[in-house]
Symmetry: C2
Subunit: 223 residues, 2 copies
DNA sequence: CCGTAAATGTCGTCG
DNA sequence: CGACGACGTTTACGG
């Protein structure tokens, strides 16, 4: 990874046009070819170019160096290097990568294995039940054999209710399934989302990740 | 901006749990307090903490230094500094900021000036036509005087169809306007969005930015 | 490679 | 502070 601190101006031309006036910034060049330009504030880079892309440096006696980074879509990032204040290179090696815990995929997996949390005698028909506009997280049948579509979110917001509503509309057109009711299940459900869901006859269920994981985890099981 | 290259392990506990095994990484500490941890690939940091947040360093003779970064939501980023390979500080000053020349606003402007692209004899009632839940991009009348609400996007996805649907529902409650039909106009329309729109009786129109600009641009005009 | 949904999304603006 | 929409969203996953 190459780290350059330089007084520079930057232009991006691609999906939009953007210009950065002359100032001191960090230019990060990663081993995979990614370019990032950072200032002293904000989480996000001011400008960037994702790999794969190619760098052309134009260097003359009189003019400042100009770096032109181009990708396959024809987008360009042009960096005019007015003054280089620092330039160092570091070999970081390959990163073992991030291990995540608590994302939606795990919630779905856990709930699929414990649909009885939703109701006594319920059973899972399938995960990722397909519809014309995309898969429903879970399709279940309650104890009376009535179909229930379940949308699972980590954070339950209004978009998720809309998503489930679309699925329900489609599923209810299938005479073999109809009537299909809905459950909106999330670790946290925003009041506005709950209001909308209940207004549409969709039941809201708050999931306790630790409890669900505990039931599935032999180490913490009590019996 | 402080740049540290170090062999480290990292844990994040907050909206989810994430763990990074021991490896060499860049730790960037910005003047505003933002922390970013980068590896040799990917545009995005492996881990981060956005300002405002506070840093506590625990340093002992025997154990490696541990940096604990905490924000107001109680999320924590814990960096165990096993070996520091580089540590430098740079004063970048305040950045003049990014100047963007966007596309979306121009699309609305261009289509407003060329509503006849939507249909022969159509006319514009107004841009940003107000409703209780926000303004509709364009309100037009077709050649028969029937109202049409137009939602414009650069990329037409399902959210945009939902947005237009909500507007249409409200506009159709106004007896002076009803019936109001809808047009979903975008440079690119995703199949799923098109399916949903057409299912709801909303017409989809793909906009050609270059052609629309050409008509308006005296330099490229043919007559 | 395209399409779809998730994200510690982030970042504005507006109540 | 929360809701909502835009973003050069980026990223992961499946067909």
């Amino acid at each position: 990874m190459r780290l350059v601190i330089a007084r520079c101006s930057v232009d991006y031309a691609g999906r939009l046009s953007a210009h950065l006036a002359e100032a001191v910034r960090l230019i990060m060049v990663k081993a995979d070819g990614t370019f990032l330009i950072h200032a002293e504030s904000s989480h996000r880079p001011l400008n960037w170019m994702t790999a794969p892309c190619s760098l052309v440096v134009v260097s003359t006696d009189e003019e400042p160096d100009v770096w032109t980074v181009t990708n396959k879509r024809g987008e360009t990032l042009t960096i005019t290097m007015l003054e280089v204040l620092h330039d160092s290179d570091h070999d970081l090696g390959v990163d073992p990568g991030l291990v995540k815990d608590g994302v939606e995929a795990q919630l779905q997996e856990l709930l699929a294995a414990q649909v009885e949390l939703l109701g006594e005698g319920w059973r899972l028909v399938r995960r990722e039940y397909p519809t014309a506009i995309g898969p429903v997280d879970l399709l279940c049948k309650d104890v009376d054999g009535v179909s229930v579509a379940v949308e699972i979110k980590r954070r339950g917001e209004i978009d998720g209710v809309e998503q489930l509503t679309r699925y329900l509309e489609l599923l209810n057109r299938d005479p073999l399934l109809a009537p299909v009711t809905g459950i909106f299940a999330a670790q946290e459900i925003k009041p506005q989302a709950r209001t909308l869901a209940e207004d549409r006859g969709i039941r809201c269920v708050v999931l306790d990740y630790d409890v669900m994981r505990g039931v599935d985890d032999p180490d913490t099981r009590l019996f």
